[in-house]
Symmetry: D2
Subunit: 366 residues, 4 copies
C-alpha cells in the first residue's frame, strides 16, 4: 500500500531509511505565496535533534534540511516542496552481529514477516529518524497556520508518573517560552528538575522511561474538522498513533471522562465579554461533533518507554528460531526517554492535521 503519505489537500509523503543516503519529504498542496526558508525549517529540526541536551541521546551529527523544489524567490509557488536531509552518521557495521535477532519492542519481526526483507541498519524505514521529515513538513504547516493566527504548543505533561499541573492557557507565547526553556520541554521548572533526576537514575541502570505529551491549539476558528469520519480528533488520533512508540491518545477529559457524570462533563454555553459564544468549561477539549468549537484544542499522547535499552533481553533468532539473548552493541547510543524528543514531532503532526482541516474548511459553504 501507498502508506507513506499523510493528509489530503496538504499532503506529505516521506521517504528514506535511517542509514540510507538521505531522508526526505515532499509537501504537495501548500498554497502559493507562503514565505518559507531553509532556516525556519532547520530551526524546528534542531529542537528534535539528538544531543540538544544531555538528557537525550548524544548522537552528534546535526540534521540540515535542504529545499530542492517548490520555493521561488523565498515563497511557495503552488508546486510541491521537496525537502531532503542527507544522512551523515551512518556507520551500520555494528548492527551486523545482531541483524538476525528479533529486537524486543521493535519492528524488525513484523517487517521481515510482511516483506520478506528488512533493512536492518538502524531500523531502516521503521526508525524514528523518519520523524525528522515530519518536523520539516510541520515547520511549513506551522508557518501557514501562523498566517491564519493559529498557534500550537506541545510539552511534556508527565514522565514516569511525574506530572505537571494543567498549565495556564492564557498566553500561548508564555507557555511556549516556558517549554523551550526546559531542557526536557516541560513548562514547569520544578517538575523539570524532578524528571531530570529520574531520567539520570534510569539511564545509569541502562533502562528507559515513557511519558505523556500534552498539546494545546490556540485560536482555532470554529468549524475545523468534518463530520462523521473526518472528525478533527479522529485525524489527530491517527496522526499521533502513526508516531513510533505511541500507545494512546485522549482529547479533553479523555479517559477520565469515563468516571464523570453527564451533568459534570457537559460544558455549559455562555457568552464572553466580546460577545462570542464560548463554553464555561472545556472537558470536550475544543471540539463538538468532531468540529472545532473555538475553545483551546487540548489532547494528550502516551509514549511507551524507549524500546532500545542497554540491558540484555530475551529473544529468538529470526530464521533459526533458537532462543537468544539480545544486547545492543557496546557504544550504542541510548536515549533513555524518547518522549522528550517527540515533543516537536507531536507539534508538527498537529500542525499537519490542522492545516489540512483548514484548507478543507473552505468548501463547506456556498
Amino acid at each position: 500500500m501507498a502508506s507513506n503519505s499523510f493528509g489530503t489537500l496538504f499532503r506529505i509523503t516521506t521517504w528514506g531509511e535511517s542509514h540510507g543516503k538521505a531522508i526526505g519529504v515532499v509537501i504537495d498542496g501548500c498554497p502559493a505565496g507562503l514565505p518559507i526558508s531553509e532556516d525556519e525549517i532547520n530551526a524546528e529540526l534542531s529542537l528534535r535533534q539528538p544531543g540538544r541536551t544531555e538528557y537525550v541521546t548524544p548522537r552528534s551529527e546535526k540534521d540540515h534540511a535542504e529545499i530542492l523544489a517548490g520555493v521561488f524567490e523565498g515563497k511557495t509557488t503552488g508546486a510541491p516542496l521537496s525537502i531532503v536531509i542527507f544522512n551523515r552518521d551512518a556507520d551500520s557495521s555494528k548492527y551486523e552481529p545482531i541483524k538476525d535477532l528479533l529486537r524486543p519492542g521493535h519492528a524488525n519481526f513484523t517487517y521481515l514477516e510482511k516483506y520478506g526483507i528488512f533493512d536492518y541498519r538502524g531500523g531502516g524505514r521503521s526508525s524514528a529518524r523518519e520523524t525528522a521529515c515530519r518536523v520539516a513538513a510541520g515547520a511549513v504547516a506551522k508557518k501557514l497556520l501562523a498566517h491564519h493566527g493559529i498557534q500550537i504548543v506541545s510539552y511534556i505533561q508527565e514522565i514516569a508518573g511525574i506530572a505537571i499541573e494543567q498549565p495556564n492557557l492564557n498566553s500561548p507565547d508564555h507557555l511556549k517560552n516556558a517549554t523551550l526553556q526546559s531542557p526536557i520541554f516541560c513548562p514547569d521548572s520544578h517538575t523539570t528538575q524532578k524528571i531530570i533526576a529520574k531520567i539520570e537514575e534510569v539511564k545509569k541502570e541502562g533502562d528507559s522511561l515513557g511519558g505523556i505529551i500534552e498539546t494545546v491549539g490556540f485560536y482555532l476558528p470554529i468549524g475545523l474538522g468534518d463530520p462523521v469520519y473526518e472528525k478533527l480528533e479522529a485525524n489527530l488520533a491517527k496522526a499521533m498513533l502513526s508516531l513510533p512508540a505511541t500507545k494512546g491518545f485522549e482529547i479533553g477529559s479523555g479517559f477520565a471522562a469515563t468516571r464523570m457524570k453527564g451533568s459534570e462533563h457537559n460544558d455549559g454555553f455562555t457568552v464572553d465579554d466580546a460577545g462570542k459564544i464560548i463554553t464555561e468549561t472545556n472537558f470536550a477539549g475544543g471540539t463538538l461533533g468532531g468540529i472545532s468549537t473555538g475553545m483551546p484544542l487540548i489532547f494528550r499522547v502516551a509514549f511507551k518507554p524507549t524500546s532500545s535499552i542497554m540491558k540484555p533481553q530475551k529473544t529468538v533468532h529470526a530464521h533459526q528460531k533458537t532462543p537468544e539473548e539480545f544486547k545492543l552493541p557496546e557504544g550504542s547510543r541510548h536515549d533513555p526517554c524518547v518522549t522528550i524528543r517527540a515533543v516537536p514531532i507531536v507539534e508538527a503532526m498537529t500542525a499537519l492535521v490542522l492545516v489540512d482541516s483548514l484548507l478543507m474548511h473552505h468548501s463547506s459553504r456556498l
Copy 2:
C-alpha cells in the same frame, strides 16, 4: 469535504439524518463471492438496537436493513452493496421549541457555525443514529474476516469506574458468549450486576455515565497494517475517535505504559509449542511498528457520559446569544449510558479497519 466515507479498498459511505426518510450505507470494494444475507446484517443491528434491555433507551422501533444492490443469488458480485434502513419513529415536533438552543455536549453549535444551517430534528447527521450504518457494514466486514479465520470481540471493560479483570483470552467463542449473555455486554456476570445497579441509580437522577470498551482481535495473520502513516493502530484510533462520544483510545498497555520501564514493557520473543514465534507478554497489544504480530490485538476506547441528560443545563440562544436553560422535552428518551450500545459499533469499526488492512496486505510482496 467528502467526509462520509471510511476505508480505502473496502470503503463505506454512509448517509442519512436521524429524523429524515432513511439512513444507509454503500459498501464499495467488497470482494465477489462472499455469501451474505439481510438476516445476518439485521442480527448485528439488533445488538445495537435501543430497547434491547431496560438499561438502554426504551426507543421502540426496530431497525430493518434492506440490501438494495450488490448481492446476486445470495453472494456479493463485486458491485457496491447498498443497504438502507428506513426511519420509522420520526416525530420531530418536540424538538421545535429547543431548536435554537445550543445543546451542551452536542454538535448543533459547531454544525450551525460551520454550515450556517442545521437539521435540528434529533441531531440530524451528527446523531449516533448514523452508527447503525456502520454496524450494517461491519456485519459484511465480519463475514469476510470470518472467511479468513479472524474473530473480533468487543465488550464493556469499565463503567463509571467499575471494571472487570482482564478476561481469559484463550477462547474467543467463550468470551463472545459471556459478552452476549450480559444485558450490558460485560463478560463478567458479577461486574454486570454492579454496573446495572449503578446505571439504575444514575438514571433516577436523570444523569448519565461513561465507560470503557475493550476489543480483542483473534487470529490476525502477521503483517496487517502498513508502515508509517497507515499503521494498524493509527487506523483503529481514527476509526474509534470518529465515533460519537469517544474521548480516548489506547492499545496494549496504553497510558499505563508511560509509568513502566523499558525492561518491563518490552515483550520478549520466544517460540511456542507449534514452532511459531510469539512474545511472552503482550504489552504491545498485538502490533509492532504498526503491523500485526499475530498476538491478540487489544485496545480500549473511552466514552464520555451521555450528553443528553434530564437535568436542566446552562446554555445560550444560538442567534440571540441570550442565556437560557436547556431542558429536554418531557417524554424524551434517555439513554443513561451510551457506552453499552456502542459495543457492537466498536466491533463493527474494528472489522472495517481489519478488512481494509487485509485487502491491502495482498500487495506488499511480489
Copy 3:
C-alpha cells in the same frame, strides 16, 4: 477496488444494478446552502430517459429520483445527499436463455472472468442504467456551477459521419435551446433531419450507429484544474472514458492538431475590449498547462455504435466454450444510437469535473 466513486471534494458514489431493486447515488462534499429540489433532478433525468423521442429505445417507464437525505428545508446542509431511483420495469426472465452466452461488445465476459459471478439480468452493474445516477448528481453539480456563473452545453456534433459546423459560441442560452429543440440534441435543424433519416434506415436493418458529442463550457474562471496529474483535461478524459461505449476524447483541436504546425496552432494572446487577456484563436480548447484560460472549454467524445443489435452475431458459450449464435430475444428494446441519450450524461460528467476543480481551486493561494 472501491471503484464506484468519482471526484475528490465533491464526490459521488453510485450503486445499483439495472434489474435490481433500485439504483442510487450518494453525493458527498456538496457545500451547504445550495437550493435543490427533486423536480430539478427529475427534469435532468427526463432528458436521458429512453422514450423521449421515437429515435431512441421505446422503454416506457419514467425514472423518478427521490432525495432521501442531505436536504433540509429545500437546501443542502453539508450532509451527503442520497438520491435513489427505484427500478420499475424489471422483467428479466427473457435474459435467462442467453445468460451463458458472451455478448459481443458487452462486459459479461470480462465481469465473469474478473469476479467469477455475473448479474446477467440486463447487464447488472455494467449496464448504462448506472448513468442515470450520474445525471442526477450532475443536476446538483450544475446548480452549484450556475451559482458561480458557469454554464455547460453538450450536443450531438456528428452521427455516422453526418456532422454539424462549429456552432456559434456567443450565447450559451441560444445553443442550449437549439439543442433541446432537436429530438436528437443536435443544435442544427438541417443536420438533425439528415441524422434522423439515417437512424431510421439503420433501425430497420436492426443495426446501430455511433457518433460524437461536443461539449462547451462557458464562463469558467481562469485557474480551474491542477498542475501535472490533475489537469482539467485529464479529469475530463477520465470522466468521459468512464462512460459506457466511449472510444475517444479530444480537447480543442484534438487529433487534428497532429497535422498542424506550431505557428498555426499556438493561440496568440491579446486583450479584449473589456481589458481582459484572451487568446485570438482557441485551438487549445480552453486550457493551458491543464488549467482553464477563461476561454470556452471545448471537447469531443467518441461513442461506438450501440453494441445491442437485432442481427445475429457470432459468439461462444461462457462455460462450454462452444460456438453459438447470439441473438437478442424477440421484443427486446433496441436503441439504434445510444450516443443521443448520452448527451445529458456527458453534460453531467462535465459538471462533476468542473465542480470538483472549482472547490479545489479555493486552496491554491494564501
Copy 4:
C-alpha cells in the same frame, strides 16, 4: 490541491522545477522483493533524453537518476523509492527578458493567474522536464509488469499526417526492436525516412510538428481495470491527458468507431487453438466494460505541434497588458517535434496505470 501524485496502490509523487536544483519522484506502494538498479532506470531515461538523435533538441546534458531510498541489497523493500535527478544545465538568465511575456501555447499565463507567482525559468513546474520523473518511475513499473509477463511497446504512428500501417502484433520483441532502431521511434523504416525529411524541413522554418503515438500492451491477464469509474481506458486517458502537449486519446477503433455500424464493430467471440476465449477482431482495443479482455491493449495519443517555435508570435505583457511580440532568445534549444521524445513517456505512463490495476486486481474475489 495535492495534484502531483498518480496512482492508488502504486503511487508516484513527482517534484521539481526545470531550472531548480533537482527533480525527483517518490514511488510508494511498490511490492517488496523486486530487483531494480539505477542502471535500469537510467537506460529508460536515456531514451527520453534530448540529444538522442539529431531530430530532437540538442540539449547536451545527460540525466542521471540516483536511488536515494527504498532499495536494499538490490531489491525493493516495501519502503518508498526515492529517485532524484540533479539539474545540471540550468542557465536561466536568458529567460529574464521574456519573463513577463505570455508564451503562446505555454502555461505561464494560467500559472500566474492561478498562483499569483510563476517560476519562469524554463517553465518551472509546467515544463516537460517533469516527465523524466515519470520515465524513472515507469522503469520500476515496467520491471514489475515484466515479472507478471506483461510487455508494453509505444511507437510513433503518425507525424504531420505521415502514418504507418498497423504493425504486426505477433511479436512484442520484434515491434520493440524495430521501434528502437528508428531514430524517431517509428517501427517502419520507410516511414521513418519520410518523417525525418519532414522534420528537417520544418526545423529550417523554425516551426514545429505534432503527431500520434500508438501503444500496444501485450499479455495482459483478463480482468485488469475496475467497473464504472476506474475503467482501464479511463485511467489510461487520464494518464495520457496529464502529459504536456496532448490533445486527444482513443482506444481501439477510437474516433473511427463513430462511423461504423454495430454489426461491423462488435468483436465476435471465438476460441483459439489453445482453448482460450478470444475475439476475432479487436475494435474494442483490449477492454470490455473497462476491464481487460486478454486481447492486445491498443490506444493512441494525439500531440499538438511543439509550442516553442523560433518564429515571432503575437502576445501581450502579463502585467501591463500591452501587445508584444514573443520571440525565443537567440540560441534557445528548439525541438521541432516533441512527440518523438514523448514515446518513452507514454510507455511509462501506460506501465504505471497497468501496475496499479494489477495490484488492485488482487482484491476482486474471495
